[in-house]
Subunit: 416 residues, 2 copies
């Protein structure tokens, strides 16, 4: 069973709001075994809405349509559906009663424009809205079944959970359900996307089940295994052996699964070892500490951090010798090492990470280009310094530096 999701609103095509409904609905539909083949977004325009409905109904079994059901003049989804069905809009008294009751509950007067929300194309069905005034609509357009909800995410989600999910399950039974898509994401850091693809080789070939896809963000590669199967258990059974194969090939390049963050994984490793951490940051200005403490209860292992942004701060707060700064510059391996070693000593922590680099856009030279970053790690085993050259804008270089620092510590904690 295939679905198309349609989002309606000028704010979307004008780029003034990001459509998050389509992604949310897609994930829900995948879980139900409904394959979403397309998202479409159009503005508050009667003809365009109607044209999208006609085209989508001819191409898919199910349409999920969000937006354009409000009480104001720019809400045109109801009218577009009536046009497509070739039927008039009629008052639906139970919906009007529900809207009236909604306003009564809030102790507010119902203004007349809300009446339009109780209008339905003849032959369509109202879907209760547990959270707002506008009822949803269920209608058959040709062979397709279309569900309409308001664009407000909380109302859309409540309506989906309340009525649409069960209607889709019933529909899938009638039409012979297609397979559920079961997913697993392996999160990797430490090599490039193309290199990783080469390590995976035939496992990434198209047409396999599970199919394996990669996406990259800030150096972190998400490896998604999507299995099509009759149900969740069968999907898991398909994924397991392939995940095991991938783990054998990638080893420690994989740091976590699904929504796990790098800082969360590092925190877990520190807690298991009853170890503590301090940080010394220059170009990242506190982002490393910020990322570490984004994890609840980071106070179990994170003691303190220094943001030694100026050279003077490096000398005064973290006792980096002036001669080291003069001889090698603030962005250098010896300074990264001294920052980490002194942060560890002053904080009294098991480990300390340091970052010093050139985040740009200015400040680069031929010898020390923008993107050059040294990462230091001090611990019971001594001090290690890694040299990186990251590409991208200031924000990207800073975020990638934070990831590289956390990954260096992760590998150290794993004994790699």
């Amino acid at each position: 069973m295939q679905a198309i999701i349609i989002s309606i609103g000028d704010e979307l095509v004008l780029g003034q709001a990001v459509d998050t409904n389509s992604a949310w609905l897609s994930a829900e539909l995948a879980r139900l075994g409904v394959a979403v083949v397309e998202h479409v977004t159009v503005g508050d325009d009667l003809e365009r809405i109607a044209a999208s409905l006609r085209r989508a109904a001819a191409a898919a079994d199910v349409l999920l349509v969000t937006g354009g059901l409000g009480p104001t003049a720019d809400d045109l989804t109801r009218q577009a559906l009536a046009q497509v069905l070739g039927t008039p809009l009629e008052l639906h008294p139970p919906s009007l009663e529900r809207i009236q009751a909604f306003f009564d509950r809030l102790g507010r007067e119902m203004v007349s424009c809300n009446r339009v929300q109780a209008m339905l194309p003849r032959g369509a069905e109202a879907l209760e809205n547990p959270q707002g005034t506008a009822p949803g609509i269920k209608a058959r357009i040709g062979r397709a079944v279309a569900f309409f909800t308001p664009g407000v995410p909380s109302e859309m989600k409540a309506m989906f959970a309340e009525t649409i999910a069960s209607a889709l399950r019933e529909l899938a039974r009638q039409r012979g359900g297609s397979a559920a898509v079961v997913s697993r994401t392996l999160r990797c850091l430490g090599t490039g996307e193309s290199n990783l693809a080469e390590m995976l080789g035939e496992l990434m070939a198209r047409g396999r089940n599970p199919v394996v896809n990669t996406t990259v963000a800030l150096g972190i590669i998400s490896l998604r295994l999507n299995a099509s199967a009759a149900d969740e258990a069968a999907g898991r059974a398909l994924i397991e052996p392939v995940e095991a194969q991938i783990r054998r090939r990638l080893g420690n390049l994989i740091f976590g699964v699904d929504e796990e963050s790098l800082a969360g994984v590092v925190g877990r490793l520190l807690r298991q070892r009853q170890a503590t951490l301090a940080t010394a940051e220059s170009c990242t200005g506190g982002l490393l500490g910020g990322e570490i403490t984004a994890v609840p209860s980071a106070s179990d292992y994170f003691l303190a951090g220094w943001v030694t942004y100026s050279n003077q701060a490096k000398q005064r707060l973290l006792e980096v010798p002036a001669t080291l700064l003069e001889q090698h510059g603030a962005v250098s391996a010896p300074v990264a090492g001294a920052l980490a070693a002194n942060a560890r000593r002053l904080a009294g922590s098991t480990h300390a990470l340091s970052i010093t680099g050139i985040a740009g856009p200015a400040g680069g030279t031929a010898e020390k280009p923008v993107g050059l970053v040294y990462i230091g790690l001090a611990g019971p085993e001594g001090v290690t310094v890694e040299r990186h050259v990251f590409h991208g804008d200031r924000a990207t270089i800073r975020r990638r530096s934070v990831h590289a620092a956390l990954n260096l510590l992760r590998l150290r904690l794993l004994g790699a």
Copy 2:
């Protein structure tokens, strides 16, 4: 001139990632007077990509296509375009050289699958990618002109700024542009959305030109003025008097315009006054320093920061008396004041900001609930402490704390 934006990727139709590229591109196109009439998203499927390209090319003047240009087997946009054009893919030697040079710069070997990124359909044009390996593509499909970029937002944005924007301006000149939507965003902090709406009153009525909309994120209210006009200059002329009226009503609640960040505004004020800044953070863990140093050349005014996450760090690094911590607790006005005063003294800065609070989800009590945050500001005029109770999850409370701290300093610098 009308445009359709096409986004490609299984992660989008599976709901594993939210498409933010389409909104960003739509806002840019609106600024150029190009009307975006539709967004379409399809998965990594050759036939579906090709079908979308054919349909969109028949319906619009311009296509913006993102995603599917990577080096792996699931990247199929290049092949789909070749199929639509009925031409073979050919090696484009200058692109191959650029990709090779990219890997050389990083000191990494180029694996063979990257070669596919230098393949172009015959007759298409390569668009340079200043940030990554995959070049973009410009091609004519029937009457439409199509631009292809990678899906990675930073690469897409760099490529748009570098080459696509000017190509679109030229195209609009040739084809006769439609009406431009000219926008201006006033960014406000310090009151709630409904309060602000009341202050604006009739200026927010529908049907006006410019129409005024609000959106809120992390306490920051964006007030958008959208004017429809024949061209940019006429749009600006419509916006100016309304902006002046709004500024009279809101005064210092407005901190910046359009993409200006609060940290950028504070940085400008510090630089103008030749003043310097230090930070002392507890619950935000470095995010305040991270936000301040997100602004290029922040080293002109930002000297140093401390992340005193544990009580011991507060005592040892910033000399907060143990008695103060015992009597009032770490989350208290006296501790916030001491953190700011001592950070200022130890860094030798003009001003210092401190943040101490309970970000949750654990750690709250009836007396000191999750969301309770004290913000300290030390300067030549003495020490001020503000008490806030923020709602939301851990990430929201931390981000809102950072904004409140920066805003406190902004108002101080303005003499408010």
